[in-house]
């Protein structure tokens, strides 16, 4: 909206009232700033988690978490890499060494499995089996919360 003012000399200057726009823009910035979530770094668009009504967010961070994301093609997303399940043993060996260096044992570590809803269960079991061979015992099967 513009407000026209005419000065004595006859030239016309248009001046918009910026206040409502700036108000709205700051509201929007505040909204997005509050909702931004940098911690959600392990989520990946290639993984569509299965949903469950009982999937409650955990109270605290699990001890020594290792996130393995199993795609429906049967590969594992680990850190930024996509690796075949057969190559998981090498990766877990490195993880186990790091855990032992921190004076812990692999049985204390938590393997977070984020598998796609359409992943064949055999692939997930294969990942679990390889983890077990490397002395990992605790698994967290992740699902997204389904509101009833």
């Amino acid at each position: 909206m513009a407000r026209a003012r005419s000065s004595g000399m006859g030239d016309v200057s248009a001046e918009a009232d910026m206040t409502p726009m700036i108000d709205m823009t700051f509201q929007l910035i505040a909204f997005f700033m509050i909702l931004i979530n940098f911690a959600e770094s392990d989520s990946d668009d290639r993984i569509q988690l299965p949903s469950s009504v009982l999937a409650k967010p955990p109270e605290g961070m699990p001890d020594t978490p290792i996130t393995l994301q199993v795609t429906k093609q049967g590969t594992v997303l680990y850190s930024a890499d996509e690796i075949p399940i057969s190559a998981m043993g090498r990766v877990l060996d490195i993880e186990a060494q790091l855990i032992e260096r921190a004076k812990k044992s692999p049985s204390q570590a938590n393997i977070i499995i984020r598998a796609d809803a359409e992943t064949p269960t055999g692939q997930v079991q294969e990942v679990i089996k390889i983890c077990q061979q490397k002395k990992f015992e605790k698994f967290l099967l992740r699902a997204k919360q389904d509101t009833p």
Partner: protein
């Protein structure tokens, strides 16, 4: 800052808003682009050491309930069997079956806390069915939104080749 003086009016200060609006729009664009609606996620805990049969028997007085899940075409669930009892493909039936087994005995030290379910799944079965089965076995949500826990110990049978 630029001060302009009108004809008869007292002094009116007018600020140049352009740089601020530029920066504000930059920020807005950044937040809009990076915005991703966060979904709430939760975990099902499974403690599954590599098979140690001698240790397992002494700890648990109940033998594990065996749930066999068969896959149909395209990885869909074709049938479920709990022990010898066929359950079809309905997870509500499975949940009712577990409820009738456990009864009202829930909570720490109860029968439900000592029982264990072993999932024996076809390798081709979609993983979502496993999560649905674990959900049906491990509890439900009551009308007040509280979670009633049933059998929380779940393990996988050794994979079939």
């Amino acid at each position: 800052m630029k001060a302009r003086r009108g004809g008869g009016l007292p002094g009116k200060v007018e600020q140049n808003m352009t740089p601020m609006i530029d920066v504000v729009f930059q920020l807005l664009a950044f937040f809009v682009m990076t915005f991703k609606l966060a979904t709430v996620e939760g975990d099902f805990n499974i403690k599954m050491p590599i098979s140690a049969p001698s240790a397992g028997v002494s700890e648990n007085p109940f033998p594990p309930i065996k749930l066999v899940m068969k896959a149909g075409a395209g990885g869909q669930l074709a049938s479920m069997n709990m022990g010898d009892r066929p359950l079809g493909t309905n997870f509500a039936t499975l949940h009712n079956e577990i409820l009738s087994l456990v009864g009202n005995s829930t909570g720490p030290g109860s029968m439900a806390s000592q029982m264990e379910v072993e999932l024996d799944c076809d390798p081709a079965l979609h993983y979502t069915n496993v999560i649905k089965a674990i959900t049906a076995v491990s509890g439900h949500m009551n009308a007040q939104g509280q979670v009633i826990r049933l059998i929380e110990k779940v393990k996988f049978a050794s994979p079939r080749s």
